[in-house]
């Protein structure tokens, strides 16, 4: 019997039992849909994490920290910086910048500062505790900043300008990132702040010669120039120049005549920069570049490690969700077996006639296996098609949420073509496997007994 005839006969037989075929295909469809949707969510989440890192250029970045073993995100928030001294023994000074920039594969190095001088912020007249990191980037073409509204801080009009993360904008009560752009907030320093911009202490009255005058909180007005695509952390990005000013402390002292003398003390030579951002030529180079930089003494943090961790977490979730889907497919397979066994019992006489007019056991086996395979195939095709439909329908909703959360990524839910093909192949194979026993049973039938069946 020609293959085309086997297919045609199998189709015809499935069409004869429409309801049973539909119900069995439906069972396979549920399994295929759940596997496809669950694995799509996992792969989409993985791709989203990678895309976020790529679009922000983080896949090329190595954060060079004074402290070792700091996570990438924490390092970008200043957690790896020396606190008040060079406690780690590593100082990220200009000499280190030179060394890092000479590491093969490094395209550029940008300095970072994390001025820890602010205590709280007044936004629209409301005092808010300062939550999140204050991080400043040395302007560099090699370090992109993905904005969802406005522009990155312009060093020309510093001090008094900041960019903020979308999450920060939300926590400050702006419903949309764009609402924050152009707004001015009051940033209030801690009491001890005596850096540039703080008022000088009043001249002494002669009662306390030699005593250091106390500082007092200083309020800076800061205009928000833009909002970055960064939803999960609170960040305030002062301009580079302003961050340098904020890192430049003044010391006041009183002379014997009670006059105040001011000396400028920058924290940078003692503590070094908060971090350095080394930008690699290629993403593949990043681990090697990080290793080479570690050999110079400082710690490093790369986004790849975090993305890998996220991917591993998603993989575990994927295995669990895929397992649930696999159980659905297993149930569907039992449905296929049931359908085929029922079908064979009903068609016993028909099988007898086929055998009498020349069908070999092999032909009967092929015919019934193909019927089962088609049940799996159709279930898989419908499942994958509906999964595509769901992703097309869900993307506008997810896009809306992403937009509200200040993320530039769009259409993140997509069924990978390999997954669609794999699910259809797997459901078809499940159909074949589920059909093996019933088909073997049909093929083994004694034609004489089958012809006598009622």
């Amino acid at each position: 019997m020609k293959l085309g005839d086997v297919f045609r006969t199998a189709f015809t037989n499935l069409r004869r039992q429409k309801l049973r075929t539909l119900l069995t295909v439906f069972a396979v469809f549920i399994g295929a849909l759940s596997v496809t949707v669950m694995l799509t969510l996992v792969t989409s989440a993985q791709n989203f994490a990678t895309a976020q890192s790529t679009s922000s250029g983080q896949d090329l970045q190595v954060v060079v920290t004074a402290q070792a073993d700091i996570r990438f995100r924490d390092a970008l928030g200043g957690n790896g910086a020396n606190q008040g001294d060079s406690s780690s023994g590593v100082i990220l000074d200009d000499a280190m910048v030179t060394k890092v920039s000479q590491v093969p594969g490094v395209r550029a190095v940008a300095r970072m500062l994390f001025p820890q001088v602010f205590d709280h912020v007044t936004v629209n007249g409301q005092d808010r505790r300062l939550e999140g990191a204050v991080a400043a980037y040395e302007p560099s073409d090699a370090v992109p900043h993905v904005m969802v509204a406005g522009k990155w801080v312009d060093d020309q009009n510093a001090p008094g300008t900041i960019a903020i993360s979308a999450s920060q904008a939300r926590s400050w009560g702006f419903s949309k990132p764009a609402d924050a752009v152009g707004q001015t907030v009051q940033m209030v320093t801690r009491e001890w702040y005596q850096g540039l911009g703080s008022p000088e202490p009043p001249q002494g009255n002669g009662n306390d010669p030699g005593q250091k005058p106390q500082g007092q909180p200083t309020t800076f007005s800061a205009k928000i120039t833009g909002v970055t695509d960064q939803s999960d952390d609170n960040f305030i990005y002062p301009s580079w120049k302003w961050a340098n000013d904020l890192s430049t402390q003044r010391e006041f002292s009183r002379g014997p005549n009670n006059q105040t003398t001011t000396s400028i003390v920058s924290t940078i030579p003692a503590q070094g920069y908060g971090a350095l951002l080394a930008v690699a030529e290629r993403a593949d180079d990043v681990p090697r570049v990080a290793k080479a930089i570690r050999a110079l003494g400082p710690g490093t943090a790369i986004a790849q490690d975090e993305i890998d961790k996220q991917k591993r977490a998603f993989q575990i979730i994927g295995f669990v969700l895929g397992g649930i889907g696999a159980i659905a497919l297993l149930v569907a397979a039992i449905g296929v077996i049931n359908t085929m066994v029922m079908s064979i019992l009903e068609r016993t006489r028909e099988i007898g006639v086929m055998r009498a007019v020349g069908a070999s056991r092999g032909v009967v086996r092929r015919l019934f296996t193909l019927e089962a395979a088609l049940l799996g195939f159709f279930g898989g095709v419908v499942g994958v098609a509906v999964a595509y439909g769901i992703s097309a329908g869900a993307n506008p909703i997810v896009n809306d949420q992403l937009s509200k959360n200040g993320l530039t990524s769009r259409n993140i839910i997509s069924v990978p073509p390999w997954l669609g093909v794999a699910v259809i192949v797997i459901t078809t194979l499940i159909g074949v496997l589920a059909g093996l026993y019933p088909a073997a049973r049909a093929a083994r039938m004694d034609p004489v007994a089958a012809l006598r069946a009622e």
Binding site: M1, T12, E350, S360, G362, P447
Partner: protein
């Protein structure tokens, strides 16, 4: 006289519970080519088993069976299936048409198993249906046909591959006497026209009278051979 069927010492037993039934008991038999042979005998005597063994539907426990050039006891399932497909045409008492296929599709079924192209199958099925007087019924489903018409379709199906031997098991058993006579006429005429052999299992003495020879079977043995 050349023979189409030769059986030597053919035995076939069945076990039903504790009882062993000798459906065929050391049967020796020769059937002449291009003859019409009736097989008669009481129910359970082994008539159908004899027909099934000759037709390659059943295998004997012992003995040898030759049908034309085919020696059946040493064949694989595939060879035996091919033999049934090309050398034998079965006609059953209860027609055994596939209910979901049209008359033409039923007739064309053996051609599909023979690997004949779809376009040729259709034409050949239509031609044989015309031979049995059903040219205008080729697109009908079995449920849309009378008993006599269904048996004509079954005869067309048996003839379509131009087999050497037609085995008809009580072909008129489900028909009234008039339709039965017509079917018998058609069968005999078709077989003679094609130079084939007809082995017809029957309880009907009238049918047996029209045969060239009669085999009487009792308790699995051929008790009488009558040449017509």
């Amino acid at each position: 006289m050349d023979t189409i069927v030769e059986m030597r010492g053919v035995s076939k037993t069945y076990r039903v519970g504790d009882e062993t039934i000798h459906a065929l008991d050391r049967v020796d038999l020769a059937i002449a080519s291009r003859s019409v042979v009736a097989v008669t005998g009481p129910s359970g005597s082994g008539k159908s088993t004899l027909a099934n063994v000759i037709g390659g539907l059943d295998r004997p426990d012992a003995g040898s069976v030759r049908v034309g050039p085919h020696v059946l006891e040493q064949t694989s399932d595939r060879q035996l299936s091919s033999f049934r497909n090309t050398a034998i045409g079965f006609v059953f008492q209860s027609f055994n048409l596939q209910p979901h296929l049209t008359a033409a599709e039923n007739v064309a079924m053996p051609l599909a198993f023979a690997g004949v192209k779809r376009s040729k199958r259709r034409a050949r099925a239509e031609a044989v249906l015309a031979d049995v007087g059903l040219a205008d019924r080729s697109g009908h489903l079995p449920t849309q046909l009378s008993g006599g018409q269904r048996q004509r379709v079954a005869i067309a199906r048996a003839l379509v591959n131009q087999p050497q031997l037609i085995i008809a098991d009580e072909p008129t058993g489900n028909l009234d006497s008039q339709r039965g006579a017509e079917i018998l006429d058609l069968l005999i005429a078709s077989v003679r026209e094609r130079g084939a052999t007809l082995l017809i299992i029957t309880h009907d003495a009238d049918v047996a009278r029209r045969a060239d020879g009669v085999l009487h079977v009792r308790d699995g043995a051929i008790t009488r051979e009558v040449q017509g």
